[in-house]
Every structure is written in structure tokens, then in C-alpha cells.
């Protein structure tokens, strides 16, 4: 068990920020740390907390140190504070301070703006762990369980990263915000998480894979834009988090991919060519492709909502202040200030979705969302390749941005997945084909039976092509504690 009285902040908390020398942060962390441990302990069922999990720990940021694999009990995981190495003479990459030296301290005028961005980012990190807390009970394999826990501990570390920034740079306000990050709880009526999608349950493993593919990718895009921050410590923190985030999306993409693979296999084995022969396919205990499309529709559209309004003052302020850049800001060839540029966004005119030009500054959210969509399309193409390999006539598609939205100009309007306005009746009729129904949920839930034997996989999902850390197929990724 972690000794909370005598935490050595250089050994138990891997860091490259000189934690043991930093009196101010140490004092704050000492106060915050027990609350974090309590939060973790109350979260995931005890027998998993006591299990030995083959996890990757980042102990330093150099290529050798950032992925150390070993068995560890999760409460003893070494959540570290790691920033990507400082780039010498880095300058502010965008906005009105473009080209000036990057800030190493918080500029007073942007303190609140920065704090808010960090708090919002920080709030999503523990939220997803909360959403996924019970999934281990139905893990389709020890391999998947291990991946889940890897994602969880790293989200925990991301929380640490944000808390470090709050403690280090935002004084008493920062400490209070750090406490509130533990006070809010996903789905809580009392104090819900800040963003809607992070208060939805992750009820099953397909949801988890979709979540890590689509929603973590929103996280990735947010981190990418914060990695472009003129506030250097934030930029460095986010750059390092991105290396971990890539693994989360890998878990999502391969998870969905393996589900698809298994479905195609079973269809072939049983001579089923029609992907819409749902009853027969389900009779065989795998998830039909149309249902996977429905899950995709749901998670993709929920994630689009996370990007906020099409035209946003906050995003414009943050960009202009040099606090938050665009995806790959440095590779974009424009003036990085955008004071007279425009950008094309969707708008609603006479009930129809149309594209129009708006000042580029106010469309920063949209631009990031467009980059997101392009990024998300990549994996969808690879999923289609799997189906193609089996010669099944089916293709996954990202729905139109107007479909099933709760935020922005299309919010709560009856658009179909093609982006066409339909009547209320058509919408009601189409909905069971576009989004998972309760019955679909029941079916997926019926498949969610744990498979805890090393090297074994639940029927609905194919094994991975390669193991984690190149381990063999029957490797025991989690040594379950049997209390």
C-alpha cells in the first residue's frame, strides 16, 4: 500500500519538474493526494484494485523511460508529472502575441482563461475513468481488461498533469479547482462533470471501444490545440499526454476492428452474405454490422457536440490570446493571427444546412472539429477494409454533422444521417435504424460475459494480432485477485 504519510515525490511520483524541490507544489500535492487515492479506491471494484496488472508506466520522457512495463496493483501505480522536453527559444505560435517568446509563467491577463481551459480538460480525465469503472466485470479477455486499466491509469495521470499545472501556476484558486475535479462525478446529480458526453454511461465494451475511438479523439484534438499553447508548461504537458492518448485510440480502433473482424468471420463460417440478416447473425452471438454503424453514429455525434458552438467567442479569445492553437498550428501556412481571414462553417438557413463564411477567429472550434472528422475517418476506412477482406457488402460511414446534435445550429432538429431534413414522422421512423435502440442495448448487454482465462476471448470479439509489449497469445495480462 502506498505510504501517504511519507510519499517520496521523486520516486513514487515520477517527474521531471523537480517536484521534491518545489515547496509550494509539494504542499499542495500533499493535501490533494489522499483525496485522489480515496477517489481511485472507491472507484473500481476491490478485487481488481488488488489484482496485478501488466501496465506501462511512464517514468521519464525520453524514449527509454516513457513505457516501462511491469505488474503493478493499480492503487500503487506511479502517476507521474511529466512534461515534454522544453524546446529552446519557443515562441507563441498564434494570435496577437505571435512570435513573442512563449510564456514560462502565467500572464496575468489570461490567468482566468487559462485556468478555465485547464479545468475543463482536467474534468474529462477522471470522468472517463468513472464512466468505465465497472467494465472489468464483463471484460472479454484479460488482454482487454489490461487495456482498460491502462487507459484508466493514464487518464488518472492526465488528471495529475492538470492538477500539477493548477497547483503550480494558479495559487489558491488553482488548489480549489483541483479539489473540485475530485468532487464532481460523472453522471452525478449532485455535481456532474462539466461536459455532457462525460456524464453518459459506458455500459458495455463496444461503447468503451467507440468511446476511446471517438471521444478520446476529441480529447486528442483538444490536447493538440493546447499543445500549441503559448503558455509553455501547458504545451509541454499536453505534448507528453498525446503520446499516451495515442494508445487509447489504438485500443478503440482495434477493439472495434476486432469486433467487426469476428462478426465477418462468423458470417462467412455460416454462409451469411447479407449483413442485414440481423436475426441470424445475432443468433450466432456476434454483433451485426448495422448495429456497429448505429453505435458509431451515436458516439461520433456525441463527440461532435464536445466541440461546442460553430461560432464561438471563447475559442476566438483563446486563439487570439495565444492560449490555444489549431491542430498542427506550426504546419499551417498563414499569418497565424487570422484577423481578416474567414472560414466556412455550417449554418442553418430556412431550416436547411448550408455552408457560409464567417471570421476565421470565431470558427476555431469548427476548424478543429473538421480536423477531427478527417482524423476520425481514417480508422473508419480501415474498418471497411476488414469487411472488404471478407467480401461482405457493407460500408461504415460517418453521419452528417447535422444528425443527432444537441449543441450548435443543428441542435435538436430532425436531420437524417445524410444531412437531409426529414419530417418528425420520418425521423421517428428512421431513428431505430440510425441509433441503437434499447433492444440493441439489451442484445449487446447479453454478450457481455467476462472471459478471464489467459489467452481466451469472448465469442463476439477476435483476438488481437499482436500482444502488448510483444507478449505471446496466452500471456496473463492480469493476475486476478480472487478474494
Amino acid at each position: 500500500m502506498l505510504d501517504l504519510i511519507n510519499v517520496s515525490y521523486d520516486t513514487q511520483i515520477p517527474n521531471n519538474v523537480g517536484l521534491s524541490q518545489d515547496k509550494k507544489v509539494l504542499k499542495a500535492l500533499e493535501k490533494w493526494h489522499p483525496g485522489y487515492i480515496n477517489w481511485w479506491n472507491d472507484l473500481i471494484p476491490q478485487n481488481f484494485q488488488q489484482s496485478m496488472v501488466y501496465l506501462r508506466t511512464a517514468v521519464s520522457v525520453d524514449p527509454k523511460g516513457w513505457a516501462k512495463f511491469d505488474y503493478v496493483k493499480m492503487p500503487e501505480y506511479r502517476w507521474g508529472v511529466l512534461l515534454a522536453p522544453q524546446v529552446e527559444n519557443r515562441t507563441i505560435p498564434c494570435g496577437e502575441h505571435y512570435g513573442q517568446p512563449a510564456w514560462q509563467e502565467v500572464p496575468g491577463e489570461y490567468r482566468n482563461l487559462l485556468k478555465r481551459l485547464i479545468v475543463i480538460q482536467g474534468d474529462t480525465e477522471p470522468a472517463s475513468v468513472e464512466q468505465q469503472r465497472l467494465l472489468a466485470l464483463t471484460a472479454p479477455s484479460l488482454y482487454d481488461m489490461r487495456n482498460l486499466f491502462q487507459v484508466n491509469v493514464e487518464e488518472g495521470r492526465h488528471l495529475w498533469a492538470m492538477v500539477y499545472l493548477l497547483h503550480k501556476y494558479f495559487g489558491r484558486d488553482g488548489r480549489e479547482e483541483a479539489d473540485d475535479l475530485l468532487r464532481r462525478q460523472s453522471g452525478s446529480e449532485e455535481a456532474p462533470r462539466m461536459l455532457g458526453a462525460f456524464n453518459e454511461e459506458t455500459p458495455d465494451w463496444l461503447s468503451f471501444f467507440m468511446f476511446t475511438y471517438f471521444t478520446d479523439r476529441d480529447g486528442k484534438m483538444q490536447l493538440e490545440s493546447l499543445a500549441q499553447s503559448g503558455f509553455d508548461p501547458l504545451s509541454r504537458t499536453c505534448r507528453f499526454m498525446l503520446t499516451e492518448e495515442a494508445h487509447h485510440m489504438f485500443v478503440g480502433e482495434t477493439g472495434v476492428g476486432r469486433t467487426i473482424e469476428r462478426t465477418c468471420q462468423v458470417m462467412k463460417e455460416n454462409g451469411i452474405d447479407d449483413p442485414f440478416d440481423v436475426d441470424r447473425i445475432r443468433g450466432l452471438g456476434v454483433i451485426d454490422l448495422p448495429l456497429i454503424q448505429k453505435k458509431l453514429n451515436l458516439h461520433y455525434t456525441l463527440s461532435l457536440d464536445l466541440f461546442g458552438q460553430e461560432v464561438s467567442t471563447n475559442a476566438a479569445n483563446a486563439f487570439n490570446a495565444g492560449i490555444k492553437g489549431r491542430y498542427m498550428e506550426a504546419r499551417i501556412t498563414d499569418d497565424h493571427q487570422l484577423q481578416s481571414d474567414t472560414y466556412v462553417v455550417w449554418d442553418l438557413v430556412d431550416g436547411k444546412a448550408v455552408q457560409k463564411e464567417v471570421p476565421a477567429l470565431t470558427a476555431i472550434n469548427m476548424r478543429l472539429r473538421d480536423d477531427y472528422t478527417k482524423d476520425a475517418a481514417g480508422g473508419v476506412g480501415r474498418w471497411n477494409k476488414i469487411i472488404e477482406k471478407y467480401g461482405i457488402d457493407f460500408e461504415f460511414k460517418l453521419p452528417h454533422e447535422a444528425f443527432h446534435r444537441k449543441i450548435g445550429v443543428f441542435a435538436n432538429l430532425p436531420f437524417d444521417p445524410e444531412g437531409k431534413v426529414v419530417t418528425g414522422a420520418e425521423y421517428d421512423k428512421g431513428l431505430p435504424e440510425w441509433l441503437p435502440t434499447h433492444a440493441d442495448g439489451d442484445y449487446i448487454q447479453s454478450l457481455m460475459k467476462p472471459c478471464y482465462e489467459a489467452g481466451q476471448y469472448a465469442r463476439w470479439i477476435a483476438p488481437p494480432k499482436v500482444g502488448i509489449d510483444n507478449k505471446p497469445g496466452d500471456f496473463e495480462y492480469v493476475k486476478l485477485h480472487m478474494a
Binding site: E96, N112, L113, R116, D180, R183, R184, S188, E189, E190, A191, P192, M194, T313, A315, A316, N317, A318, F319, N320, A321, Q339, P359, L361, T362, I364
Partner: protein
């Protein structure tokens, strides 16, 4: 006229508010229709408001008092998710003319004052039940309520972000109520007004910004429980029945004149003035409060107040070139007194009480009108009781002295009533007579000895009740020259001079809001740092910050 702003509405036309009446408790929901802006060019997102939203609120508050006297507690809340109210719409402010902004600000202030006073005046206590973001004008709405509850969900906060965000002030009473009403310590208030995101949770209670926080899961329940407690503790009688505020009898004419049943507005564009003539009652006063209740909105004394109120608002917003308002009356002063005395004798009756308070508000509205105000006391006039108050609300008054050739109307008189010694205080909490005779308080006692006497011009002038009394020979020239001179002065200097001279005496929260906060706000609203092409208000939403001239003025 391009687009006349109408201050009359009714529940069937509301687009932004909704009331659910449950006996003694009314749940008032703010649910602003994004597309329902009064002018084109902005959307009322996040429960932000413009004048149209506030006109409805003023109507809600007014009807609450007259149509629903059974209500003891009003719970003001948002029907939207995650936002209570985001305040005045910034794009509307950015696009509005200075004059519109100032008038908007004044009307919203008057509306806030009205529901704030509803507890003391009418036994209707307003609770603000705040869930979600409550910023700027949103918090100012809450501040004007009598009790503020905030959900403790670790993200809902109250905030006054105007200074850091927009380079203007929380000008709808915000700064003043924080210090004078909530009595927030000034240094904490300074912190509070400089942080965009505001204050949440326990700290909001500790700093006195809200009265109570409640757990989010139980919030609605606790709010309703508190509402029931307040209703139970109310001293107001139970089971009162209201009267209906029927639509005004009103007609607009091509030349700009407006004709109501008992008020008439004539416009003289060339002279830059409007003449408001109030006609006294033609029917005898109701014999009892029962009869008053039966007459309802048709009772002369209520009708006259509603019509005068609407006329003033109409002139303020829709006739901005009219610099001088001339008040005249015609009728029988004893009839006016008879109608008023029924109210004064029955102040414990809810309706009599409401009408008196309404006259108080209408007269304050006159005080607050930034036009040159003048009363012309002609023969045949009825400046008595509440109408006599107009004589001391205006900047100057002229009274006809002795008989005029060819004028067979009764000689002009001024008649005081007990009403002139208490029920219609100004914003400074003094009566108009107390304010007028600030240096000789004994004069007010002397005047009280004249209650009920029809005072003719020389006596009225001698007692200081009118500025000048002129006879037939001088009258026409003196009045004409005064009006012409007035119309020639700079309207800015006039507004400033009049506003300073009208409100002698002590400061109250109300005078501080209108005299200090609003004046500063209106100055800031003229400054390039806020409204210049590179100012914060113009740039808001573009992402580019205001470019400030750092010179301190």
C-alpha cells in the same frame, strides 16, 4: 415612425417568460426565445435579454401584483439547462445606439426596482433559484430578488464579468446592490467584479453573494420548501382575488399624438415638445373598496396611472427628439381627491394599496425621465393629490393667475391631500415636498395645514408650490419664451443639470443606482475603450481584445 416599441403586452403574447401559478407560490420561468429579439441582427442565446424580454418581465411583475394578489412568493428560475441567465445580450448592446442603451438600461433598472420592492409593497417575495451560469445582468436579476439560492454543483456560479470581459459596468444595479444591499465587503466585491468566472458554492454564501446554497440533487425541492416557508411566514392576507389588467384604450395618430381614455399626448415636433394632458375623473369615486374591485382596471385612478405610465415609456423610447414634456390637467380637483381618498382611507385593502404603490412608481418614472419637464397649471385644471405630485416632479411649473379674458373655466388651483405627505416618496425616500423644501422642513408642516384647500395662484406661488404665477398679460409670452429657451439648450447639459437638481437630499440605493452607477455606465458607454471600433464591446465575440487607451481620465 420606423418601429414603435410597445410596452403593452399580455401573457398570451409572451415569448420569453412563463408563469405557473400554484396557489400562494408562483414559479416564474425565464425561457428566452433565441429568435425573439426586438431588433434584427442578434440572437438571444443562453437566456440573454433585450428590451423586449424586459418588457415582458415588467408585465409579469405588474400582473403578479394586480391579477394575482394571492401570490406570496415568486420563484424566478430558468427553464433552460445549465444557464440561469447570461445577462443583457452583448450583440444587441454592441449594435444599439447610445440613446437606446441608456433607455434600455433605465427601463431594466426600473423593472428590477419594481420586483425588488414587491415584498415590502405587496407582500410578494421574489426568490432567485439559480442553477447554471448566472452572469452579469443575470446575476443582477437575482440581486434584485429578495432571496438568492444557488445550487452547489461545483460549477454553477454567480458572476459580474462586465469589467474584465466587456470593459463596461454591471450597470443594472449590480455594483450598487453588491455593496449596498448584499453588503459584500468592498475588497471582496472588488475581487468578485474582476473575475470572469465568478464565485460558486460555499464561498458565494461566505461572501454574502447569495443567501443559501443547496445540494444539486435536492435543489428544486429545497427551493420549493423555502418558498412554502416564506409563504407561510408572510403577513399578507390569504385568498385575495385579483383584477384583470385589461388592454389599454389607446390610439396612435399619424402626427404622433396618442389618445388614451384619460391621458392625451400631443406632439409639437417643431417645438420639440410633447404635451401630456390628464383628464380628471368624470364619474364619482367608488363608494367602497368592493366597488373599486368591481371597477378594476376601469377605475379612473388606476386607469390614469397605467395610461400615464405607458405614455411616458412611449415618449422615452419612441420620441427621442422631443426634449420637453409639458404636463397639463383638466377636470375637477375635488373629484381627483375623492378618488384618491378612497385609497388612502383603505390602505389595508390590497387593491387600494397596490394602486397607491403604482402611482408611486409612475411618479418615480416621471422623476427619472431625462427630458425637461414642465407643468402648466391652467384654469380648469385638477392638480390635486397624486396629480399635484407632478408639480414637484417637474423642473418648473407655471400657473395661471386670476381670470383670463374669454376663459370661463374655473380658476386654476392646486390642492394638497394627505397623499402628498407620504405614500408617493421619490427614489431618495423623501416626499417630493420634503425634497423641494429641504432647507425649510417647517414649510412642509405649514403645507400640511392646507390639506384640502383649493390654493389659487398667488397663494400657491407664495407657498412655493409652483415656480411662477402669471396673469393674462404676461402668461403667453413667459410660457412661450421659457419653452423656446429650453428647446435651444444642449440636451446633454439639460439632462445633466436636471438630473442633478431633481434629487436633492440623502442617497439611497435607488438614487445611487440611477445617479452614480448609471451615470458612470453612460459615460463608459460613450468611451472608445468600450464602444469605439476597437473597443471591447465592438470586439466582443471576434476573439480580438479591446484596444484600450490607458490614459486615466
Amino acid at each position: 415612425m420606423t418601429h414603435r416599441i410597445d410596452f403593452q403586452t399580455d401573457p398570451s403574447r409572451y415569448r420569453h417568460w412563463r408563469v405557473e401559478y400554484e396557489g400562494e407560490i408562483a414559479n416564474l420561468y425565464m425561457d428566452v426565445d433565441e429568435q425573439g429579439g426586438l431588433f434584427p441582427g442578434y440572437e438571444l442565446k443562453l437566456n440573454s435579454y433585450d428590451l423586449g424580454v424586459d418588457i415582458e418581465l415588467a408585465d409579469v411583475v405588474q400582473r403578479m401584483r394586480f391579477e394575482h394578489p394571492e401570490v406570496k412568493v415568486v420563484v424566478m428560475q430558468s427553464a433552460k439547462d445549465r444557464v440561469f441567465c447570461a445577462g443583457a445580450n452583448i450583440r444587441m448592446l454592441g449594435g444599439a445606439s447610445h440613446a437606446h442603451k441608456v433607455n434600455f438600461c433605465k427601463f431594466t433598472n426600473e423593472t428590477r426596482n419594481t420586483f425588488e420592492a414587491a415584498e415590502a409593497d405587496s407582500g410578494q417575495k421574489y426568490i432567485a433559484a439559480v442553477k447554471g451560469a448566472c452572469a452579469g445582468g443575470g446575476y443582477e436579476l437575482a440581486l434584485a430578488c429578495n432571496y438568492i439560492m444557488l445550487t452547489n454543483d461545483s460549477s454553477s456560479s454567480v458572476a459580474l464579468p462586465e469589467v474584465p470581459l466587456l470593459a463596461v459596468l454591471p450597470g443594472t444595479g449590480g455594483l450598487t446592490r453588491v455593496t449596498d444591499k448584499r453588503k459584500v465587503r468592498r475588497d471582496l466585491a472588488d475581487v468578485f467584479c474582476s473575475v470572469e468566472e465568478g464565485v460558486k458554492g460555499q464561498r458565494a454564501v461566505d461572501w454574502r453573494l447569495v443567501d443559501e446554497i443547496a445540494p444539486n440533487s435536492k435543489f428544486d425541492e429545497v427551493v420549493q420548501e423555502r418558498a412554502r416557508e416564506f409563504a407561510a411566514a408572510s403577513a399578507k392576507p390569504t385568498g385575495l382575488t385579483g383584477i384583470e389588467l385589461t388592454p389599454l384604450d389607446r390610439r396612435f395618430d399619424e402626427d404622433g399624438s396618442v389618445t388614451y381614455s384619460t391621458v392625451e399626448v400631443a406632439i409639437d415636433r417643431a417645438g420639440g415638445r410633447a404635451t401630456l394632458t390628464i383628464t380628471g375623473p368624470s364619474d364619482p369615486a367608488p363608494a367602497s373598496v368592493a366597488e373599486l374591485q368591481e371597477q378594476g382596471a376601469q377605475a379612473w385612478i388606476l386607469r390614469a396611472a397605467r395610461e400615464l405610465d405607458d405614455a411616458i415609456l412611449h415618449l422615452r423610447l419612441n420620441e427621442r427628439q422631443i426634449g420637453t414634456l409639458v404636463f397639463k390637467t383638466q377636470g375637477d380637483p375635488t373629484a381627483v381627491l375623492a378618488h384618491e381618498s378612497l385609497l388612502l382611507a383603505n390602505r389595508d385593502n390590497w387593491l387600494a394599496n397596490e394602486i397607491l404603490h403604482y402611482w408611486k412608481r409612475v411618479l418615480k418614472r416621471v422623476d427619472m425621465t431625462s427630458r425637461s419637464l414642465v407643468a402648466i397649471v391652467e384654469h380648469g385644471s385638477c392638480f390635486a393629490g397624486p396629480l399635484a405630485e407632478l408639480l414637484w416632479a417637474v423642473d418648473r411649473s407655471y400657473m395661471m393667475l386670476d381670470e383670463f379674458e374669454g376663459d370661463n373655466r374655473p380658476l386654476a388651483t392646486v390642492t394638497l391631500s394627505e397623499g402628498n405627505f407620504g405614500p408617493y416618496p421619490m427614489g431618495n425616500d423623501l416626499t417630493r415636498l420634503q425634497t423641494r423644501f429641504l432647507g425649510t422642513p417647517e414649510t412642509v408642516d405649514t403645507l400640511r395645514g392646507h390639506v384640502g384647500e383649493a390654493l389659487e395662484a398667488s397663494e400657491a406661488e407664495q407657498l412655493g408650490l409652483v415656480t411662477y404665477a402669471y396673469d393674462d398679460i404676461d402668461w403667453e409670452d413667459e410660457v412661450r419664451i421659457f419653452l423656446e429657451e429650453r428647446a435651444s439648450f444642449s440636451p446633454d447639459a439639460m439632462t445633466g443639470m436636471e438630473a442633478n437638481l431633481r434629487f436633492a437630499g440623502p442617497e439611497t440605493m435607488e438614487t445611487r443606482i440611477f445617479g452614480r452607477l448609471t451615470a458612470w455606465q453612460n459615460w463608459i458607454f460613450q468611451r472608445p475603450n468600450a464602444v469605439g471600433p476597437d473597443g471591447a464591446l465592438q470586439r466582443y465575440g471576434t476573439g480580438v481584445r479591446g484596444d484600450y487607451n490607458m490614459e486615466r481620465v
